[in-house]
């Protein structure tokens, strides 16, 4: 496939590229969101640990 043809996607570029882009954004969002979810849970446990230590 020629380089310009590739980006034009046979005239369907405005449908193909946003679809690919949206799906990739969803993949990235999932990774970001899962990492954030884990980091928040870890922070809550560490806070609970620190509070328990300060009460001792």
């Amino acid at each position: 496939m020629m380089r310009t043809n590739f980006w034009q996607m046979g005239g369907y570029a405005r449908f193909v590229w946003p679809s690919i882009g949206f799906a990739l954004c969803m993949l990235l969002w999932n990774v970001w969101s899962a990492r954030r979810h884990y980091a928040r849970a870890l922070l809550r446990v560490r806070r609970a640990l620190a509070m328990a230590r300060s009460e001792e």
Binding site: P18, V31, A34, Y38, R40, A41
Partner: protein, 253 residues
């Protein structure tokens, strides 16, 4: 090893998974492998599907949307099934990890349902002349998205997390009836949406040059789901077991 021995080992492993520390460590160990396979498969699938696969004789290059649409749609159903089965296991056998798996799977499934709807809509515009039509497949997929939102909201609506988990699991199980409706809607009713191309009995309709990248994308998305599920599951278990001694030890380490 005998067949009976391997069956006992499988059940032992299954019972072990019901233990939060074991599930946490298993998820931690599996996650990088899932991510590595997902990256390889999705990378190959995208390059082969977008660059090397020939255009469709009817749809031209617009058919390439299938490489993200079909895996997203497949995953939307798979994640819902995972959520419903995990919820059922948690309700029947009172296994807490089941609720954690269901809670972890819900947002992932919702995001892929949204991706399936958006990419399908973008594919529908050049092929059907409209972004949206109240077609059985599209409508049942939209209902699936609302079911995900319902399950996520219901879990958070209760002050008592145990009651929230049970209510969400029940809704997940009841809503599971929509999964076969989404899948078979194109056969049961008149639909604009095309029938199955890969998941059908007999030979797939696609030639190999188009099919291989699609299979790679399906496999890659499944592994990606496994990886993100493991990551979310670790967070869920940590949050739910934060008073346990093993969590305190794990966090200190």
């Amino acid at each position: 090893m005998t067949e009976g021995g391997s069956r006992i080992n499988m059940w032992t492993w299954f019972y072990k998974l019901a233990s939060p520390p074991y599930a946490y460590r298993t998820a931690e160990a599996l996650m990088p492998w899932f991510f590595a396979v997902a990256a390889g498969m999705i990378g190959y699938g995208l390059i082969d599907g977008l660059v090397f696969a020939p255009p469709d004789y009817q749809q031209g290059d617009a058919f390439r949307i299938i490489y993200v649409h079909a895996p997203s749609a497949w995953l939307s159903l798979f994640a819902y099934s995972t959520m419903a089965i995990a919820g059922a296991i948690a309700l029947i056998w009172r296994i807490k990890v089941g609720h954690a798996v269901a809670a972890a799977a819900a947002p992932i499934g919702a995001s892929f349902t949204l991706a399936a709807l958006v990419t399908g809509s973008l594919w529908g515009r050049p092929m059907w002349g409209t972004y949206w039509v109240w077609d059985p497949r599209l409508t049942s997929e939209l209902i699936l998205l609302f079911l995900y939102f319902g399950v996520i909201s219901l879990r958070q609506a209760f002050e008592d997390p145990v009651r929230g988990d049970r209510a969400a699991a029940l809704l997940g199980i009841v809503g599971f009836v929509n999964v076969p409706i989404v899948h078979f809607s194109v056969y049961w009713w008149n639909s604009l949406h095309q029938g199955g191309t890969v998941m059908r009995l007999g030979k797939p309709e696609m030639p190999g040059s188009m099919l291989w990248p699609l299979l790679a994308m399906l496999c890659g998305f499944m592994c990606f789901f496994g990886a993100v599920l493991c990551m979310r599951l670790r967070g869920e278990i940590l949050g739910r077991e934060r008073q346990s001694a093993w969590v305190r030890e794990a966090v200190k380490a």
